[in-house]
């Protein structure tokens, strides 16, 4: 399945939320990257297509990483928070994501 053929409905479900953290603001300044939390089963081409669709920008590259959920203990029971996928989106030079407009 390539990004071109993926149907739009799927693309709208790929991106979950922006990640706002110290690290995300740091990389945004340094590498002009934006970080999103994405669906666990999303692929790089899907993410690229989704960002281009939602925010009307051009994406240079996408890097992903799987984040393990934290281990938490409740009494005697060991539990685990959900794993999730993080995507670093590098935009083409001169592009910017306007969050306020994009989510409309």
């Amino acid at each position: 399945m390539t990004a071109q053929t993926a149907n739009q409905e799927r693309l709208l479900q790929v991106i979950l939320s922006p990640v706002v953290s110290e690290k995300s603001t740091y990389v945004a300044d340094k590498n002009e990257q934006v970080i999103f939390r994405v669906a666990k089963d999303a692929s790089k081409p899907e993410i690229k297509a989704a960002v281009e669709l939602l925010f009307k920008v051009q994406v240079e590259s996408v890097q992903v990483s799987n984040v393990k959920g934290k281990k938490k203990r409740f009494g005697a029971h060991l539990g685990r928070r959900r794993h999730w996928k993080k995507a670093y989106i590098c935009l083409k030079p001169g592009q910017e994501i306007n969050f306020a407009a994009g989510e409309a």
Partner: protein, 435 residues
């Protein structure tokens, strides 16, 4: 900062004030920076939040704050610069307050304190009631006291006005008894119009043990609606006729009045002192009323609406508390502030005039005057030191004294200016009208 004053009406003013937006922006930036050191935002360690993120979160709020402060400060400055005395609260309207504009502009509409044109007080004439407390007044007082202490004793003779009568009566209208028409063993004082005159006249002349049947008509305007205007038959049986016995003016009597050794001269002089104190108090009150009225009449002031409204609201609030104190549910009583308009206007006007007079002629309460009054109050107590301390402990209490002193200063000054006549007044007139 630029300001521009417009005169809307004799009291209304509008200030248009412009502040450079740069000042506002730098202040906002400063505050955000300070904020970024303390705020906690999810995803950042405390103190590591970039200013940009802080601005996103708190920018608007901080901006409002800064604008509010700026308005307060610049308004205060402008008012001082233009030498205005603002009455009540200004109405602020922001004209342009965008980040991008160069100027932050707003207008403030408010009222100023009016210039009080003091009238000519020398044209005022004040009548100071002068009352002699003579033997006649003392005798009269003693008479009243004796009546209050009268003892009633049964006598064998026909009842007359001034006697008490113990009797049964039964009243019927067309053979039917009616409400309140029947009683047994009721004791009534005759000759003080406690009963209907017709009834009383019929009772007078009866001796103990006698009875009488008579008809009488209730007056048309009698308070009992059912019987008003009707003819009733009464059967009255008198059990006792009691004659008042006034106590003799002797040492016993003096003792009951609290003169320990029962000395009659001492009693008289004490009564005289009491009367004189009362007369003095009423005289002062009377003169004060006249002075205040004179001030109101001789001076015209235009009243700032804002002050009147404030005062009216305060009065309404007071009324509400009064009602609550008396155990009424004030929450449900509608108290339109308009109802207090008249009183509020009078008070505001008087307040303005008084403060104008006081300012102009330096009549404010001086510390030594205050001290004097406190001393006087203290003297009346067993531990004067305590009282003195009590007054000086709290500024509120002192202020009360100050206002008393101020009032008397004012009265004194005005009476000094105005034509003051001594007017011999009958004792009863003074006592009656000052109540």
């Amino acid at each position: 900062m630029q300001s521009n004053l417009e005169t809307l009406s004799s009291l209304e003013r509008r200030l248009s004030i412009a502040v450079s937006m740069q000042e506002v922006n730098t202040e906002v930036a400063n505050r955000l920076k300070r904020l970024s050191r303390t705020v906690k935002i999810h995803g950042f360690r405390p103190g590591k939040v970039p200013v940009k993120i802080v601005e996103q979160q708190y920018g608007g709020q901080v901006r409002q704050e800064v604008l509010g402060d700026t308005i307060q400060k610049s308004f205060g400055d402008a008012v001082r610069e233009q030498n205005l005395r603002v009455a009540g609260l200004p109405k602020i309207e922001v004209q342009s307050g965008d980040e991008k504009t160069e100027q932050f502009e707003y207008t403030a509409t408010f009222e100023i304190y009016p210039e009080v044109e003091l009238g000519d007080f020398s044209a005022l004439s004040i009548e100071k009631p002068v009352v002699e407390v003579g033997d006649a007044e003392i005798d009269k007082t003693i008479e009243v006291l004796r009546k209050q202490r009268a003892v009633f004793e049964p006598v064998q003779r026909a009842a007359a006005a001034g006697d008490q009568v113990k009797m049964d009566y039964r009243g019927t209208i067309d053979g039917e008894a009616f409400d309140g028409g029947t009683a047994e063993g009721s004791t009534v004082q005759l000759g003080e119009s406690r009963l209907l005159p017709d009834f009383e006249n019929n009772v007078i002349g009866l001796s103990a043990g006698e009875s009488k049947t008579f008809t009488m008509a209730f007056p048309e305007d009698y308070h009992g609606k059912e019987v008003a205007g009707k003819e009733a038959q009464f059967e009255v049986t008198v059990h006792q006729v009691l004659e008042p016995r006034l106590p003799e003016v002797d040492s016993e009597f003096a003792k009951t009045l609290g003169v320990g050794d029962g000395d009659l001269d001492k009693m008289r002089s004490e009564i005289r002192a009491n009367l004189e104190r009362e007369v003095k108090r009423r005289t002062i009150a009377n003169v004060k009323d006249q002075v205040m009225k004179g001030l109101l009449d001789s001076t015209s002031v235009e009243l700032p609406q804002a002050l009147v409204e404030q005062e009216a609201e305060r009065l309404a609030e007071q009324m509400k508390q009064d009602l609550q104190a008396r155990g009424l549910d004030a929450g449900n009583v509608p108290l339109p502030t308009e109802a207090f308009d008249e009183e509020a206007k009078r008070r505001v006007r008087l307040g303005l005039i008084v403060s104008a007079v006081v300012d102009k002629h330096g009549l404010s309460a001086k510390p030594e005057q205050v001290k004097e009054v406190v001393e006087e109050q203290a003297k009346a107590y067993e531990q004067p030191d305590e009282v003195r301390r009590w007054y000086y402990q709290s500024p509120d209490r002192l202020r009360e004294i100050e206002s008393v002193v101020l009032e008397s200063n004012l009265v004194e000054w005005v009476t000094g200016q105005a034509k003051t006549e001594d007017k011999p007044t009958a004792f009863d007139d003074l006592m009656g009208n000052a109540q």
